[in-house]
Symmetry: C2
Subunit: 304 residues, 2 copies
């Protein structure tokens, strides 16, 4: 089976398209890398690159990313709405096919050591790569941001996992870590009453007693005359889309409200949808091997 | 978007594994071809090859197939349970991604002309490539089989679309044509009463007044103590899996019988399952572009 790991680095440049393009081109040129998307947000002054490849390609892509980004982004001159601690702020590694979370954790350690050695930037392992629970949450690590990071790192509790004891003068610090694929999944309700969406979001999200891998909030879709339960599915294998959909349907029915539709925002792994098809069609043995296009991806490696 | 056409030629050799392997190896070696499966049936004395590629790859694969099969298969010495008229009996062309039925019809004409010119084999266009309704059905074309084909072709009604007015002395004749992907889809019922499966098969199949692109029959699964509605979905885009599943569920409920499960036999295009997920999750705008692995297939062509 061919290995597909997704890497979604966030860089602290979202206003200068030429500079973003130079950095993206460097990543695209790395051997084995497929750059799927580049999104810049000028208000956040931040860009998100999405690329995929096997472990070797991700190593090459991340290396090219730092080589291109560090000389081009100076955090002493950076401002934007989104909190950030690094020129390359965060490097998430996501197993898609033929790789496990453990594989991505191992890769994150390898990358962390390499980045620290080459660029003298402190590296913090987060999410599934975190050495302790306190290091799991990216928002906790990032607290203090670039401007406060020198002070923050004086506390031995915030010694980095790799690299120097203080931030890089222009590139700050970076978080690297493995996490499950995140799916942005929204369910639209046939009512204008935001309280219904809020109540359902509360019911299904982990923090309120709901599903373990669900974050959710109610959103007003005024232009559609509807409200939305806006959901982040943080582990679709353990909390699948169809289970959340059916739960929202049941909760909405309690208010006499129908589900009008749903949407996936951005990319999702094929398995997330195949699991839903398997559930509703009661498929007894559906395997990725049976999906023609996925077979095509797998065969590539073994083809002569 | 990268083009993926599936080609599923049937050859009249299923007993000599060495000979089948030589023919399969020739196809595998054709540039751009991905050979996904080779299945031989000794009783039928017939093998089915499944390969995919873009139009150029399919051209190369079919050319390699004939070059390898014609000298190796002599129908004057062939016997088997499955009706056949040619050494290469039939060459179906199936659009999977980035190609239409019309593209495959054009390709079938091109292949037909090339085969006739190179091997002096009469070629009959069938299914969506057929010049007339009478030529659509493969079983009609094949009637008379190899042994009766000289006689059959004396009738001007059975003049070939390409090639000589009589069959090739050892390789007979071949049918080439475009068709929609076929999905073998079975639904298992929680009863031992075969009459229920038979009645439901009758209700859903085209010939009995059911869905246009459904062939179905009841099958006894004695070892499971269940019966099965065994279905051939001949065009899943126009008659989708979920619609048939829901119809079977409703018909079964009329007998107080539950659906225990279902299964897809062999390969299916991703869209067949994505359509089911989209239906049940009420997805408003699901596109293949959003499926990470399918994006990967598409990007290949444009990547530097």
């Amino acid at each position: 089976m061919r290995t597909v790991i997704e890497c979604v680095p966030n860089i602290s440049e979202g206003r200068d398209p030429a500079r973003v393009r130079e950095i993206a081109d460097a990543v695209r040129a790395a051997p084995g890398v497929r750059l799927l998307d580049v999104s810049s947000d000028p208000a956040h002054n931040r860009s998100v690159l999405t690329f995929v490849g096997d472990a070797a390609a991700v190593r090459a892509g991340v290396s090219a990313l730092f080589d291109a980004a560090i000389p081009r982004i100076d955090l002493t001159r950076h401002s934007g709405e989104h909190p950030r601690m690094g020129a390359v702020d965060v490097v998430p590694l996501i197993p898609i096919r033929g790789a496990t979370v453990a594989d991505c954790v191992a890769l994150s350690r390898e990358l962390g050591a390499a980045i620290a050695a080459r660029h003298a930037i402190p590296v913090f392992l987060y999410e599934d790569s975190a050495a302790s629970e306190a290091r799991r949450n990216l928002a906790e690590i990032r607290k203090g941001e670039f401007e406060g990071f020198g002070e923050k790192m004086k506390d031995p509790l915030w010694a980095p996992d790799f690299g120097p004891a203080g931030p890089h003068p222009t590139a700050g610090a970076v978080a690297v870590g493995a996490r499950a694929p995140l799916i942005a999944y929204n369910i639209n309700l046939g009512t204008k009453d935001l309280r219904v969406a809020d109540a359902i979001a509360k019911a299904i999200r982990h923090i309120g007693g709901g599903f373990r891998f669900v974050k959710a909030m109610g959103v007003d879709l005024a232009d559609r005359g509807q409200v939305q339960v806006s959901i982040n599915m943080t582990n679709f294998r353990k909390t699948p889309l169809h289970r959340v959909f059916e739960c929202v349907k049941s909760e909405a029915a309690r208010y006499g409200v129908p589900i009008v539709g749903s949407e996936i925002v951005g990319l999702a792994p094929a398995d997330a949808l195949l699991m839903a098809a398997g559930h509703y069609l009661r498929l007894e043995n559906l395997s990725s091997e049976q999906i023609l296009e996925l077979r095509l991806l797998e065969e590539e490696e073994t083809a002569p």
